[in-house]
Amino acid sequence: MTIQDRTRPATPPASAVITIEAVSKVYPVRGGVLKAVDNVSLSIPRGKTVGVVGESGCGKTTLSRLVLRMEPPTEGRVLFGGRDVWKLGRSERKGFHRGVAAVFQDPYSSLNPRHRVSQIVLEPVRVNMGRESGGLSRVRLNDLLRSVGLPEAAAGLYPHEFSGGQRQRIAIARAISLSPDLVVLDEPVSALDVSIRAQILNLLKDLQQQIGGAYLFIAHDLAAVRHMSDEIAVMYLGAVVEYAPVQAIYNAPKHPYTQGLLAASLPPDPRRPNLDATIFGEIPSPIDPPSGCRFRTRCPIAVAHCAEERPPLRERGDGHLVACHLAD
């Protein structure tokens, strides 16, 4: 609470912080084009966490780069507060940078080794708040450090004096320094020791309660995504194949890929060997994806029709979207 009150009045509730509208991102590569993100639509509700899961190379990170306005989409639009992020004026762009922050995977390269912690954490404030930031900085710095569980004395130190987990806390303090509406968490705990992952995830959850921002949580660790998310998008070869509230995904996955992912990740249970839905084979090249349904080459239940028509993402009851001809 303290953190939010100091920067600005709470923004009026609206349906979504960021809306991704039919976005595609195509990279030219030798021998063709690579469709990293293929016609993805997603909206991140205010104050909620949307999890994105999928194997490496499925476009999760490209999606996060599009949301963060680091690259323009090839097709489609990314809307922030109802406005296309690539058509913002100067002052609106400031608003975007104030409202959106990120935490990346690698806590070592995420922090400038030449800057002190105080400089790292307060940079978004200095850059976006201009003169207003001046007197607030020190108090705010201490608040921020405390809220991520670091001592105030950390402010004067350099990043190399901290462990990976502590560095990630510094990165988080920076991300929440302006109480953003959206924090993109791109594999925030993947590079950390298993023993401190839970700490960081719980810290993120607590902070979300405090600042009321939304999270776009990208991970390949299904347990972490389940712990964090309200809604989950499962991606395969650049496209969303299933989108549903967290309970629906974990209790009643409808897409064979989701079923396979879950089967591959559940802890082994001798009483219930879960081998029927395992995914076989390798992920196909995104430069030359299979015809029709992109998952058909590895799908245990694929039929001839799957090679002909690409299944659209269709609602199958209660906000559960599935892109499969055979899902019911």
Binding site: R98, A102, F104, S109, P124
Partner: protein, 303 residues
Amino acid sequence: MSQEVQPFEGAPIVTPVEIGPRPRFRGLRAIRRYPVIPLFIIGVVVLSGLLAPWIQPHEPNSPDLLASLEQPVGFGGDWSHPLGTDELGRDVLSRVISGARISLLISLSVVLGAGAIGTVLALVAGYFGGILDAVISRITDVFLSVPFLLVAIAVVGAWGASTQHLVVVLVFMTWSGYARVLRGEVLRIRNLEFVKLARVAGCSNGRILFSHILPNIVNPLVILATLQLSAVIIIEASLSYLGLGVPLPQATWGGMLAEGKNYIGVSNAMVIIPGVTIALTCLSINLFGDWLRVRLDPRFRQL
């Protein structure tokens, strides 16, 4: 310390940490931590350069034919000319001091000029990329492939030897080394996460370049600059030796070497003294640069 290692038995064996013998003198420890000797030599050279007009015992360019080719003290000379005199009876010590001034002036100007040009071009090329990068990199390649001692000789030969010409030519021929090495470094740093996060936070290109990237290329810049500093001293000496550097009446280390070689049979001090001066100065600068590199990197900094 002939303790036998006994596996599978009781408490783990803890070997006491070996501590080297304590240095007997405090001075020894300082020498280990700071480059005392190189700093001393650099200090002497810099002070000589700065204070040359006041500390040189004789006018460096005034001949005294009655006192020509005197030996240094300890080799048959006397204290009126501690390092002896040259063939025209000019005081060698005064000429070394006066030469320090000119060597420092030239090498510092060259390093500052070339470093500034190279750094700016590297930042622009590495950060903005695209056509800008292609153009700058190709120009850099061209300059790197030119044998610059030859160009320096040609240009100084064409324009006439003067200190200014020398500096301009050396800057022109040495900036490419900075541009090449630093561009790669900029390219590497530009793709690190903290630069992406800076962009996410809304930092301007200027802020990213000067607050995020520039401080992170200081290391290679310092290494290059110190190597160049000594390299430029040597090049200046080479050109002066060839008679294409600083015009003649002015004393320079390279020029002294050139004159001394004609009298090497009579007074080898005339070669040894400027030669040793050049070698010691360059070695000291390199050692100092190495120490500075470690010192500048916060990861090596011990509080």
